[in-house]
């Protein structure tokens, strides 16, 4: 495994809004080692989500270089990028983005089905994962029948079910009460330790800083100069 797991150099993402160019991310250079619990801090609109989009391969940079787990994402074809997301990345969103028409078990099983497993196999594995996260009795419930904290734990289970090397979480606790947020963060920390996966968490909650092995601060799409890069 490379010593640097995520490496960005002069990473820029520019959107066109009408006749105006909006720099969501500008000239960002960073390095995150393997198995890190990295936190990206910054206010709303600072470029945290854009950075996660690029690292996760769901969007492409306008310029700059980005290597993740030894892969140059810029050089990947669409198909290779699909494979990268499928096999190496797990996503957690603030509003969890669980599919409302599937129950918890099926939502968690989705990444495995995308990898080609049968629904039966995927369900079986998903059941074990949900039980490990304390949701063994909620497997047959649809997202609307779960609390916010439970939904986010299901989203967490979906993100790690395929044992990805990288888990990206965008404001994972932003919509939760403090009790539920602590549970989710504890689970993420323990999964980071147990699975050895690199976690990159975008948040504007500075309290997460205490759990982080690495902190990246963004302001207006740029790295904050004083941000520690330990």
């Amino acid at each position: 495994m490379p010593q640097i797991f995520v490496q960005a150099q002069a990473l820029t993402r520019t959107y066109r809004r009408g006749s105006e160019d909006v720099h969501a991310l500008l000239d960002v250079t960073l390095a995150i080692p393997p198995s890190a619990f990295a936190v990206v801090l910054g206010p709303s609109g600072s470029g945290k989500s854009t950075l996660l989009n690029l690292i996760g391969g769901i969007d492409r940079p306008t310029s700059g270089r980005l290597r993740v787990d030894g892969l140059d994402l810029h050089a990947l074809t669409e198909r290779q990028l699909d494979g990268y997301r499928r096999d190496r990345v797990g996503f957690i969103f603030q509003f969890n983005n669980l599919l409302p028409n599937l129950d918890a078990l099926e939502n968690v099983a989705l990444p495995l089905v995308a990898q080609g497993r049968s629904w039966a196999q995927a369900r079986h594995q998903a059941g074990a994962q949900l039980t490990a996260l304390g949701l063994g009795n909620r497997v047959g419930h649809r997202p609307a029948e779960l609390s916010g904290g439970e939904q986010q734990r299901v989203a967490l289970a979906r993100a790690v079910i395929s044992r990805p090397a990288l888990v990206l979480a965008d404001e994972p606790t932003g919509d939760l009460d403090s009790g539920s947020a602590e549970i989710v963060l504890d689970l993420m920390s323990s999964l980071n330790r147990d699975l050895g996966a690199t976690f990159v968490i975008a948040t504007h909650n500075p309290r997460l800083e205490s759990r982080a092995t690495h902190v990246i601060e963004l302001t207006n799409g740029r790295m904050t100069p004083s941000a520690p890069q330990t």
Binding site: Y15, R17, V22, A24, S44, G45, K48, S49, T50, N53, G56, I58, D59, R60, E78, R79, D82, G83, R85, R86, D87, F91, F93, Q94, F95, N97, L99, P100, N101, L102, E106, L110, P111, A114, Q115, W119, R158, S162, D170, E171, G174, A202
Partner: protein, 379 residues
Amino acid sequence: MIHLALRDLRHDLLTFGFSVLGLGVLVFAFLLLIPLSLAITRIGEAGGVPQNLIIMEQDVLQPEQSRIAPGLAESVSAILGDRLDRVDPVVFRIMRVEGHPIQLRGVATDSWVTTFHLRLLEGAWPSDSSEVVLGQLAAQGGGWHTGGEINIYGRRFRVSGIADGPGTKTQTAWMSYVTASALFGPEKGAQLLVAHLKPSADPLTSRLDLENGFRSIGAGYDAYFEDALLREYGAALNDLRSLSLLTAVIAIAAVTLGSHNLAWLAAEERQRLLGVLRTVGFDRRAVGRYLMLRAGVISVTSYLLALAAAILFIEHGIGPNDFTIGGTQTALSLSPAMVVLGLVLACAASLTGTWLSARHVLSASPASLLGRGPGSSFA
């Protein structure tokens, strides 16, 4: 992906129901219009609406005074070309038979049913030159019976059967053209030619071409419609057939557009869902398959419901054998070939519509499907 498609449809039963209903109505129209146009075609092919042109000598008042020149049948064939189904010379005489006025027609027996629409009421068609068939009015007027004998022009014939035909108001006796020619001798030949047009031929144009053709070769003959009313009726039927086929095509086109709109709406509504699928690792082809399968389930369900409704409507609404056009009865039915064709067309139309609408969604990045542009960090 079929599992996802089914779960998605089950989750939103109301939308699924309306989608099925919307497409089903169009498929139902298609399933009725195709057999209708085929039934109309069948009427034409079966001679239910005769498209016959009667050719006789110019300036002759009575048909029996007309004389058809040798070789005229070939000229008619050359003028009408592939619009002509067949041309029959007819020996036509009005004479007294055992004291009763009889219109005698000598025409090839092959044409009795197909061209002249004779229907056997009793007995059998003539098996040799010693037999004739009598019209119902002639049999009643002369007191002749099936199996009895009749003296025509000094020769005895056996009555093989009694027949009737559409619009038959005269007392007629029918014999083969060969028998009539032998009976009356070759010098007067045939009095009429009956040109039977194919159902696809336009009678008006054919008649005009025929008369122009006669003029160009210096032949003094006129062409008449067998019946002006039937001519107009035939033209109307042709129009109806074209119209029903056109409407069927429009129905299928509407299925394509309807599917396009449904799939477009579904894709727009499900952008986030599709974005999640892409994010967790499903590639474009898999997401496309999901949309196609979803559309396929809607199409097949619509089709099966429409098929059931069409069968019920034909069987119990109008009755498969009660369908008549202008007094001509025909069967209105859905053959297995039509059912399969309808299914293939409906599914193809639906999938085409879906593919057209889904392209923009499939080409979008997962980030844009999830609405994760600048400032959308809370998606």
